[in-house]
């Protein structure tokens, strides 16, 4: 049975989306909460792909963007499929009335995302949208980067931007 490039790209993106929506984490006095339950006032949105219209976007939002960077198949008895992805989480914080609160929210959100990724070795890879049983694993790379992005226009969504970068690797043996 073959493994199709498009399927792996879609499933990887979907699995990371599911992970960021549901992964619980702790630390800094937070016990077993997800990103969405921690950042709930105003509520955090998690979307895939860089937004089409920044002026229409609600904040806070994190947008998951990915690109398949390399793919190879090694056949030695069975075939090993290996595919690498670069992920960028574009963060758009805000939604509070005070500048200080928005800055704090941006920093906390960025730190929490980095923290979740740092304490994770593998992300469950799901082949279908029901997320009932994982089909394989996505191995997280060791380098996770985070930085604040300065605004380029007066739009609210641009005011408290950040991005977090990381890599994942899909490996599956066929046969």
């Amino acid at each position: 049975m073959g493994i199709y490039l498009d399927d792996v790209v879609t499933n990887t993106s979907r699995s990371v989306y599911y992970f960021l929506n549901n992964q619980t984490y702790s630390g800094a006095g937070i016990g077993g909460r997800t990103l969405k339950s921690r950042f709930n006032d105003p509520g955090l949105n998690i979307v895939t792909g860089f937004p089409d219209a920044l002026e229409k976007m609600d904040v806070p939002t994190i947008a998951i963007d990915s690109e398949s960077t390399s793919r190879q198949e090694i056949t030695f008895g069975s075939t090993i499929h290996e595919q690498n992805f670069d992920f960028v989480i574009h963060g758009f914080a805000g939604g509070h009335t005070s500048d200080n609160k928005n800055q704090l929210q941006r920093d906390q959100l960025m730190n929490d995302i980095i923290g979740i990724l740092e304490e994770t070795d593998k992300i469950d890879y799901y082949k279908d949208g029901s997320f009932t049983s994982a089909d394989s694993d996505l191995v997280l790379g060791e380098t996770i980067t985070g930085r604040k992005i300065p605004p380029t226009s007066p739009l609210q969504a641009e005011k408290y931007r950040f991005e977090v970068g990381f890599t994942v690797q899909f490996i599956k043996s066929d046969g």
């Binding site: 860089f50 002026e55 670069d86 380029t152 226009s153």
Partner: protein, 240 residues
């Protein structure tokens, strides 16, 4: 068994050669890094940049913020509405892809062992990637009172607010808010469409980070650097 010790006595010529290598290494490092970057990394960065048509389309389109087409994506680069070389108002700009290809990296030595390369300075690239467009200007009310004029980011009265962020927008994503210079007038991004304000969202291309990352991952940067370093060092030693 006792450890075996080997020793080689270097000839005078050998010592001189080693000294030359040591002396030449930093300069060779600077030159080879620059050469490898130009040969291997820069084409990859340019490849990730939008092609001229894509650049024209992206910069011409945006969401109208009011009027009949409010909230819709409007604007076109067709019919020579978008251009890089001005005729009546002289200006010559480059498409982003060309500006990247033509930009030269600079490299320097930091301390005694570190060679640093700089490329993609926004202060140098941004002024080169401006553009011109044809704007419709109303000279009165009713039909027949429109005239097409040339506008450009090089105009003395142009609003430069976002120009300084153009490269940033292409690399990291961002937005451009466009308004007419005279606030009483309206923008005409395409025939039959007018709005007082347009917002353009530019999606990140990750050209610089992506180009570097790709060439590092596939090994072409290291292989290229090794080969260039050897070639240049050989040349320097021959001359010396």
């Amino acid at each position: 068994m006792a450890a075996v010790k080997y020793s080689i006595k270097m000839s005078r010529a050998g010592k001189v050669k080693l000294l030359h290598i040591r002396q030449a290494a930093p300069t060779v490092g600077v030159v080879s890094l620059r050469r490898t970057f130009n040969r291997v990394v820069k084409p990859e960065i340019a490849r990730l940049a939008p092609d001229p048509k894509e650049e024209a389309d992206i910069l011409s389109r945006g969401r109208a913020q009011d009027g009949k087409f409010s909230g819709q994506v409007v604007g076109t680069s067709a019919k020579n509405r978008f251009f890089k070389v001005g005729a009546s108002t002289p200006f010559v700009f480059r498409y982003l892809q060309d500006a990247i290809k033509e930009a030269m990296p600079t490299s320097s030595i930091e301390g005694t062992t570190k060679v640093v390369l700089h490329f993609g300075d926004p202060a140098k690239i941004n002024p080169r990637i401006g553009f011109g467009w044809r704007a419709q200007v109303r000279t009165g009310t009713g039909k027949g009172h429109e005239r097409t004029v040339t506008r450009s980011t090089a105009d003395s009265d142009a609003w430069h607010g976002w120009n300084e962020y153009m490269l940033h927008n292409w690399e990291l994503g961002g937005s451009i808010v466009v308004m007419p210079r005279d606030k009483r007038k309206r923008l005409h991004p395409e025939e039959g469409v007018s709005t007082s304000r347009m917002i353009k969202t530019i999606k990140p291309r990750k050209m610089f980070s992506g180009g570097l990352s790709k060439t590092m991952k596939d090994g072409t940067l290291v292989t290229g650097l090794r080969s260039d370093f050897r070639k240049i060092l050989k040349g320097v030693l021959k001359k010396g």
